[in-house]
Amino acid sequence: MNKERIFALMSQAIIEGHQEEAVRLAREALELKLDPAEVIEKGYVPGIQKVGELWEKGEYFLPELITSSEAMKAAMAVLEPEIRKLDQGLRARGKVVIGTVEGDIHDIGKNIVASMLQASGFEVFDLGADVKLEKFIEKAEEIKADIIGLSALLTTTMIGQKRLIELLQQLKLRERYKVIVGGAPVTARWAKDIGADGYAENAVAAVHLVGKLLETTRER
């Protein structure tokens, strides 16, 4: 089987959310001694990008997004150790600390964002739900994150997003991180009002947003 054919199948497996198929193809690629970095870039990434497009067109909804990103993560789990072995140095696209703010226990939306970010090649540290604001900062400092993502699903807990930004300012760390916000009651207007660096309406938009924010950071 030629490389192009395998890459197309990989992409297809991600689009269709076939986790087993995605994993099988990853193993096959290793047996064929294909370059794992190239396999990710040319086989799997186009698949997850297509998933994002299908979402944007309204054809895909949350279940499809989840199964596809799970398939993607499973394939990456096969390939990543090989990349390390080859000592190519795994180049994550950036590091994101993410969680649902304190007082809020809703985390499905945040889980989907985390999953899509991870599937899109970002290194994601998911702190879960009902996360103390200090915890976000501690973790971000510890792993030298680029981005802090805050989810809030209630009108009453959104205030946590604002407080985190204030806390970063107090600690003189505001410039070190890009803060992005999301969640059902959150709007672009709110994000602007509280001085966040970005807002995304959904998981696919979040992937674009994080990509864009990292580009501008690198440019600086």
Binding site: G58, P63, G103, I105, N111, T156
Partner: protein, 593 residues
Amino acid sequence: MGKLVENLKEIKVIIEPEGRIIQGKRGENLAQILKRGGINLNTWCNLKGICGKCAIEIIEGRVNEKKEEEIKIWKIKNWPKTYRLACQIFLEGDIKIKIPEESIIKDFKILDRGLMIKKEIEPAIKTYQISFVHNDLVRAGSILDYLREKLNIEELKFSLSSLEGLSEFDLENDVIIYVYDGKELVRLSKGAPASPLLGLAIDLGTTTIVMEAIDLESGEILGRQTDFNHQLSFGSDILSRIAFACTSPDNLKKLQTTIIDELNQMIGKFRDGCGLEEENFMEAVVAGNATMNHLLLGLPVASLARAPFISLFSSIEPLRAKDLNLRINPEARIFIAPNIRSFVGGDISAGLMAAGLFDHPGPFAFIDLGTNGEIVVKKDDQIVVTSTAAGPAFEGGNLSCGLPAVNGAIWRAELINHELKIETVNGRPARGICGSGLIDLLAIFLQQGVIKPDGRIARGQEKIEIQADIFLTQEDIRQAQLACAALKTGFRLLLENLSLDPRQLQAIYLAGGFGQELSIENSQAIGLIPRIEKEKVIFLGNTSLAGARLLLLNNSSRKDLLSFLEKIEYISLAMEPNFQDYFLQALKFGPWP
């Protein structure tokens, strides 16, 4: 008619005109015999001979003479000579009697539809007319001790304000006293008792308030007022109102004043429209969700809206009208239906009570579907409840052409000969879609393949046109999927918690916004409710209001309700490990199980 044969041991009480016979013993109290015989005699004052409600007519037979107090009542009521108080008669021999209709306690029907439960009229507030017998008064030592003795309530409590009426009465005239819950003196007055003695049943909804004025003795509904909750101007849903209340103490006060003002306006309409005196309202029962209860009392709500989502109180002692500035009798008592949890409030607990569901062995489910969908599942003695954030899609909330069920809203749709026929509220020209219409449309489009089970609109269309300017967009369908999935997931987790298969359910009771216009088949086709026989899905209507009415008219229901609540277990969906998986699975339209 021959002379009645006297029997030393057994005495016969013959009740005309049926000729029914109840056996009694010499010296036994007639009222007790009648009650034992299954006659629902009104013994309002517990056989104390002071309320005058257990009158019977003696047709034949010898009985003891009237005492001073009975004579007084007998004169006030202007009864014929043959009338006596059953509770003051101790049998000496066989008697033949007639029982006037007004001496029998009536039942009242609790729900207008669905389950038909009846309860006795037995309000918490009772009035007694007491006259002062000087010798007894001196022996008792004080007026209050005399009242305690007369009412046979040793622990009779009173507050200073309840005695305000004392200043204007004298020992020469009778006094009317109002006793709450058989132990608390709440009001004293002279002259005639409040007539009719009135109560308010209040369904305090986030969106709508319904208030009924009820005659506490007959159970009759004398008036009803319905209005939008005026707090809507501070936020349409519960969370936005909490957010508003949390911004400043003034805002919390503003929300409280708004609701009290509105209730007072409604009470004023009972006076202006039905001639019901504010003074005569001695009780009110409020059934509302936890947030509405807290806001009514002006209590802080911040804790209701953040994990771990805890209310300040579940049940609270009855309050006085004057503490809330409610313009009915200042000493009237306000009973708040107890909350089960922060998101399963008094509206649900009262509703379950009204539908008689605590006594129902089950297994059954009870669903109140609004922006929050509350679900209750009961199997034998186990009761589990939860609340799901369904969102406003089924109330027409976040749809591009969504409407509540108002004139011109499409509320039914069906396919007739492959053609889509719609029906609107009051037959007005269609101008939007409400919840029940949405469910019909989704089911039809699924059946036609216009919508795929995953929610996608087929053939690459962006929206489905229903008629000019009324359509469903892809995003609308996504919102419906989310609402449907939230309810379905909650339902499934509760069933699992009790190891129940949905097919085992004896019934699914639907309360709240959805009424008869909801198609059961279509709700099952999209997966909103599980597939069980159609006959087992029962619409209950406004159970919150029915619950308030029940708690108002039947005091023992309040105690029963509090003891039932102890058995209820609350399940927090977000804490359930399977929640996310089930939710994602549930997003797919289609019947289950």
